[in-house]
């Protein structure tokens, strides 16, 4: 269930916490395992993380459902996390979200037919001086315009071919 590579990555996190406090690494462990499993977490995957960290399955499941960064149903290869909070809203985020939805032919929460992209409205990502903005993977894209969105989405499509 958890690859050796993932175990090594998890171990790096476990080493940061005191002896016996390995469950502090659960949040990262879940992310690592999620990334290996098409970006979503099954009950079995959560249990495997719990077993690996020697903690009750229910405790890992609570974490996996409390935090926003975990998915429990299939998502696209890339999730576009579009901020719709106040500073982004004041700078036209709502119109851009509609533009993006039209471009992709999906609503927020849905996945494109080719399973490449899904869009999620999220709260402030702490980059309000660059509003409007969204996040894909580790990266932030700021000062978005329709042109920029075209460029980014087209780039993702090209890369997947």
């Amino acid at each position: 269930m958890i690859s050796n590579k993932a175990k090594k990555q998890i171990d790096i996190w476990v080493a940061k916490y005191p002896e016996g406090r390995q469950s502090s690494a659960v949040m990262e462990a879940l992310k690592i395992v999620q990334a290996e499993n098409d970006n979503s977490l099954t009950t079995e995957a959560i249990q495997a993380v719990a077993d690996y960290l020697d903690m009750p399955g229910i405790a890992a499941a609570e974490v996996a459902t409390f935090y926003e960064n975990y998915n429990h149903k299939p998502v696209g290869k890339h999730t576009i996390r579009f901020c719709h909070n106040i500073s982004c809203m004041l700078n036209g985020a709502d119109d851009l979200i509609v533009y993006l939805e039209k471009k992709l032919g999906v609503k927020t929460g849905e996945v494109t037919k080719d399973s490449l992209i899904n869009v999620k409205k999220v709260e402030c990502l702490g980059a309000c001086v660059g509003a409007p903005m969204f996040q894909i993977g580790d990266q932030y894209y700021e000062n978005l315009t329709t042109d920029k969105i075209d460029e980014i989405v087209d780039g993702l499509r090209k890369k997947s071919k």
Partner: protein, 422 residues
């Protein structure tokens, strides 16, 4: 401008150890390792400096550090709060990206003062670029012998680790943050006991905001009085203000406390062509909204903003011009708190849901004549009745939006559409 946390900002590779040290970085830490500074001296300087917590509550940092039972014979911790998530706030991200060593040195100094040999920086999960910067800086500091055990042959040890969140605003609340660091749901704890007595893993812990820690090294290098003199009474030093929304050049500015709001607005390029200032949220989404007139007369310091009717909070200045529909703005904020309530206390869980649903109903054209009273009633029941301050933070904007812009809400209810946008 840019004298403390942003001191290296305009230099090449501002985040590198080399740049930091070329600007006097780690000089205070090295003095400590040589035994030339005592914890009491440091606390005195911090008290003189007037530094107050930059995470929102404004508690004096020197005083907070003096509360730690430094002689207790147990493991103690220092924790940095880089969970930055309050709408409008985006300063800690830039400190981590452009000057991570200031945070490391600030935390190291704190660890020495409080005799805590281990520290964690809790960075919000989305901040991957800042996380990698911080990790890079940690490695540089370890390689240079600035972190680790028995540093430079002294009895001083400090190990520091970065921890990542996973998407929950509530983890910015310090006790929720500790729960999260322990690998649990981020639900705030009852206080007391305070973290200084029972904190991370049940041990004495002090939590400060990123900007608070990042300010400490420069304060000690230049002296508490130097810092105090930059600012005004009750608000020592300079502060980062994130100016966002309807301005020409949104940005973070590190400026002296007490600067007139209108000067700060000008620094951000002013209001856009042909538009006028309508409203300002001066300290982040949790602080009361002000009218243009109140804002234009205000100075940017704790007392100045309080006099104007709001709070300095995290220094997140959200500018709204005359094209803003205040009903829409408040609805967006209400949605945020509803979404982010951890659900532990009934007034907050139910109240934030009520507030959002009533506002949504108004925006859908189904508002009722008594909805304004209903909103006021609900927010009043939340305030003061919850475990953590998220409840108050959700309630306070409601009261101030309704007080200052009531006619827009009445119009929306009566006509089923926005007074501003039609």
């Amino acid at each position: 401008m840019n004298e403390v946390c942003f001191k290296t900002l305009d230099q090449k590779k501002s985040w590198s150890l080399k740049t930091y040290e070329a600007n006097g970085g780690y000089s205070v830490w090295r003095k400590i390792l040589k035994g030339e500074l005592t914890p009491d001296q440091i606390i005195d300087e911090l008290k003189t400096s007037g530094l107050r917590g930059r995470g929102g509550a404004g508690f004096p940092t020197g005083l907070k550090w003096s509360f730690m039972p430094r002689n207790a014979d147990v493991q103690k911790y220092v924790v940095c709060n880089s969970d930055e998530g309050e709408p409008g706030t985006c300063k800690d991200r830039d400190i981590l990206r452009y000057n991570p060593h200031s945070v490391i040195e600030g935390m190291a100094i704190g660890s020495f003062v409080m005799n805590a040999t281990k520290g964690y920086n809790y960075i919000r999960g989305e901040f991957m670029e800042p996380f990698y910067r911080f990790e890079g800086a940690l490695k540089e500091a370890y390689d240079a012998g600035l972190l680790g055990e028995n540093l430079d042959g002294s009895s001083v040890s400090f190990d520091l680790y970065a921890h990542l969140g996973a998407g929950a605003y509530i983890c910015g609340e310090e006790t929720a943050l500790l729960e999260s660091l322990e690998g649990k749901k981020g639900q705030p704890r009852f206080k007391p006991p305070f973290p200084a007595n029972i904190g991370l893993f049940g041990m004495p812990t002090t939590i400060n905001n990123t900007e608070s820690f990042a300010s400490v090294p420069e304060i000690l290098a230049q002296g508490g009085q130097w810092f105090a003199d930059i600012g005004v009474e009750n608000s020592g030093g300079c502060k980062l203000f994130s100016v966002t929304g309807h301005v020409n050049e949104p940005a973070n500015f590190e400026v002296p406390m007490g600067i007139p709001f209108k000067d700060l607005l000008e620094m951000a390029g002013g209001i856009r062509e042909g538009r006028t200032l309508k409203a300002v949220i001066p300290g982040g989404s949790s602080t009361p909204v002000l009218t243009a007139d109140a804002a234009m007369a205000m100075t940017m310091d704790y007392d100045g903003i309080e006099k104007a009717g709001s709070m300095l909070g995290a220094g997140s200045v959200i500018i709204m011009d005359d094209t803003t529909c205040m009903v829409e703005a408040l609805t967006r904020l209400a949605h945020f708190y509803y979404d982010e309530s951890c659900g532990q206390c009934t007034p907050c869980r139910e109240g934030t849901g009520w507030l959002y649903r009533v506002l949504k109903r108004i925006m859908d054209g189904n508002g009722k004549a008594d909805d304004i009273d209903l909103l006021l009633g609900v927010q009043d029941k939340i305030i003061g009745n919850t475990i953590c301050a998220l409840g108050d933070a959700a309630a306070m904007p409601v009261e101030s939006f309704l007080r200052n812009f009531r006619q827009e809400f009445e119009y929306y209810i009566e006509h089923g559409k926005s007074m501003v946008k039609g």
